[in-house]
Amino acid sequence: MDVRVTTVLAVSMLLLLAGCASQPQTPEEFRKAVPGAFMGKTETFEVERSFRDVAETFQRRAPECLNMRVKTTSSTSTSYQVIVARYTPTVVVNKDRAELHVQRKFESGVLKVSPEPEAGYYLLVADAYPLEKNRTRVEWFGPSRGHDVLVRAVRSWASGENLGCPDLTKI
């Protein structure tokens, strides 16, 4: 099966099963829904970097890298499909937590089965928490497969190892 079809299905299943077809409408609903959802995943890691630096990186890179529209075309001998996905990042920072939300809205090519938030379904939520000794703990919530590049970006931004943008055509 095509990898993009797989990932679209994975997210759809995640969202559908997260709440018996009711889509999370807020980041908090998404955090609560993912751990018990089919093909949902949550993971925690720590980085040797200050909370302030991690938050600043989220604030700087998310708008630069994740505010974009991705057009995917697929064709076989019998079909031709165009999917346009609009990605929207949101970063919320306070002294206790830095949140990165990524939403995806399919503008064409995908049937919407239930009401979604204005900027689209929540795809990933990553929360950074300050720890002692300039360390930071990051917890992310999202699908268990098909979105590795997004998680890789969150890890790389948090650690400061690579500030590159994720290639969203790989989702």
């Binding site: 529209r69 991705v70 075309t73 697929s74 690579n162 590159g164 290639d167 055509t169």
Partner: protein, 169 residues
């Protein structure tokens, strides 16, 4: 907003091959000026079954902030030197396109910036694509003093302010 595109399937691959062989409208950029951009490129797919190629499209930006395509430079060497005018801004579109040898898949993503080089300065640009993360970093170097500073990428919407900035002596 940035855009990216991906394509799947043999039919699309065939079209893509046709495009890369001369039907796309891409043309090589010929530098009218002495090189003032030194672009270092590292583009790896991380897989033996796929490859990534990088290039940069160069656009002229007129006083009304309209862009006109000037040509494309393949970033197929570790370092490529390019000259762009210093009397007006240019719009640089760094493209990273990946292709799979087995699955017949292609995808492309780009990162763009306005740049108005200053006389007496050169610009070291790092264009990287690694682990499916891409990045473009620009540093301005004053040739005489060796002083360096990082430059933020500027969207086309910043054209007015970039175009009006007086060139440094």
């Amino acid at each position: 907003m940035k855009t990216a595109s991906g394509a799947l399937g043999c039919g699309v691959l065939a079209l893509a091959v046709g495009i890369t062989t001369g039907c796309s409208g891409l043309r090589p950029y010929s530098s009218p000026d002495a090189p003032n951009l030194h672009i270092r490129t590292e583009a790896t797919s991380g897989s033996v079954f796929s490859s990534v190629r990088a290039d940069v499209g160069i656009y002229r930006v007129d006083p009304q902030c309209r862009i006109e395509y000037q040509g494309t430079v393949d970033l197929d060497k570790p370092t490529v030197a390019v000259g762009i005018p210093t009397d007006r801004p240019s719009y640089l579109v760094f493209g990273f396109s990946s292709s799979s040898f087995l699955g017949g898949t292609r995808g492309g993503i780009s990162q763009e910036t306005l740049l108005r080089p200053r006389p007496g300065y050169s610009y070291d640009i790092e264009a990287t694509y690694k682990d499916d993360l891409y990045n473009v970093v620009i540093r301005e170097l004053h040739r005489a003093s060796g002083a360096r500073r990082a430059i933020d990428l500027q969207p086309l919407s910043a054209c007015g302010s970039v175009a009006e900035r007086p060139a440094a002596k």
